[in-house]
Amino acid sequence: MIHQYELNGYKIVIDPCSGAVHLFDDTAYDIVSLIKTAPLSPDCPEYIINELSSKYSADSIKEAYGDIYALFIEGTLFSKDDYEEFAEMLGPAPIKSMCLNVAHDCNLKCEYCFAAQGDFGMEKGLMPFEVAKSAIDFLIKHSGGRRNLELDFFGGEPLMNFDVVRKTVEYARSIEKQHNKNFRFTLTTNGLLLNDEIIDYLNKEMYNLVLSIDGRKEVNDKLRPTCVGSGSYDIIVPKYQKLVRQRGDGQYYVRGTFTRHNIDFTDDIIHLADDLGFDQLSLEPVVTTEETEYGLRESDLPAINAEYERLAKEMLKRELSGNSFNFFHFMLDLEQGPCAIKRLRGCSCGNEYIAVTPNGDIYPCHQFVGQDEWKMGNVLEGTLDYDKKRYFSKTHIYCKDECKNCWARFYCSGGCNANNYESLGSVLKPNRLSCELEKKRLECAIMIKVALATQD
């Protein structure tokens, strides 16, 4: 299979199974649209010449077909999907990533919060240090030969339990060498509790920081109010600016959510970049149902797609003028991204990645937290449901009917399992709206790569 599309004047053809990306001229693009399946014949079929004879000369059609055939022989067009044998070999792997929900409480009342304002629909509470300590021990114990271990302090708002964050880091650092491990800590915060001391600490200890803000003041404050109902923008912006200024080259993302209220989200991204001075940006579609006032609907797709195109063109313009910023969802390393095996099952939640609640309960990921049927153990008790782990280890793109023939399967790896379950009641049934947005983002990201590669 191939995927062909036209964007910003570029006629792009992707060969999903090899990862190759090509820029076609009009003739070759029209020809390839008429080729249904491989293998290709060495000579241009008559039906193609007949179909296109009113637009191009026979010689030109034959010549362009020859180029297409050469790529087919080379294995960079209509290449076969040879990865299913690897998928069949996939099984339980060491746990190497943990989302540690140190606070099931929050000092913001964001309307769209998938964590139900921080408590995930459960009892509010902060994680005691002994639970965090057991979580570190659990992670090391189940990490096998993996050296790099990721621990994300999450919530709720993790800075509401900063003392435990600090003690947990200290504890993990104190034992990592003896176990031949390397901890990479990250923290996701709403910024309200940042102060000079905490900023210094986070910049020193955190491998990555995720700073939540939705963009323009009116957009942010509409859905991210404080507990007393006032906006959070004016409180967090100077703190984020200070943190980023002092962070140097350290990794961070200013991360927001867009909803039906701001489908013109390019303006939010530009505000974060130009007015506030951030250059590592992420803005994601809200996770909710269509029933909510702010939830995205399928009928919004044309407008959202147009907005992603607007953003891509703006980013391209800035790349060419040396004034660029990074947008997480347009990041794509065509040369050296993750290996094909990683791409078969994506986030690997419930298998390599787990989330832990303040009382030590284990869930497949932060988005499954609070759903009893998905609870898979407890770090204090040292229990782990190996059946659930095995289930997730075998949840790959070939198990998902909508994915196995999708051109984007090796870029998105089957989508978000929790999102799938939430929307259609099955981990194996991808949410259509999420899929369409993902595909559009990929098309935009690849267009930027193509445009940059073809500049004189």
Partner: protein, 46 residues
Amino acid sequence: MKHIKTINKANLKKSTEKGGCGECQASCQSACKTSCTVANQDCERK
């Protein structure tokens, strides 16, 4: 080639030869947390 410019040569099949070490970042640990994209992750072996 006159009609086609290849922007990126195939590399996915080659990646299986040394792939699957499992050391790379879980995608949800970077910046997303809500929407999965895997192809933007770095390979630890590059």
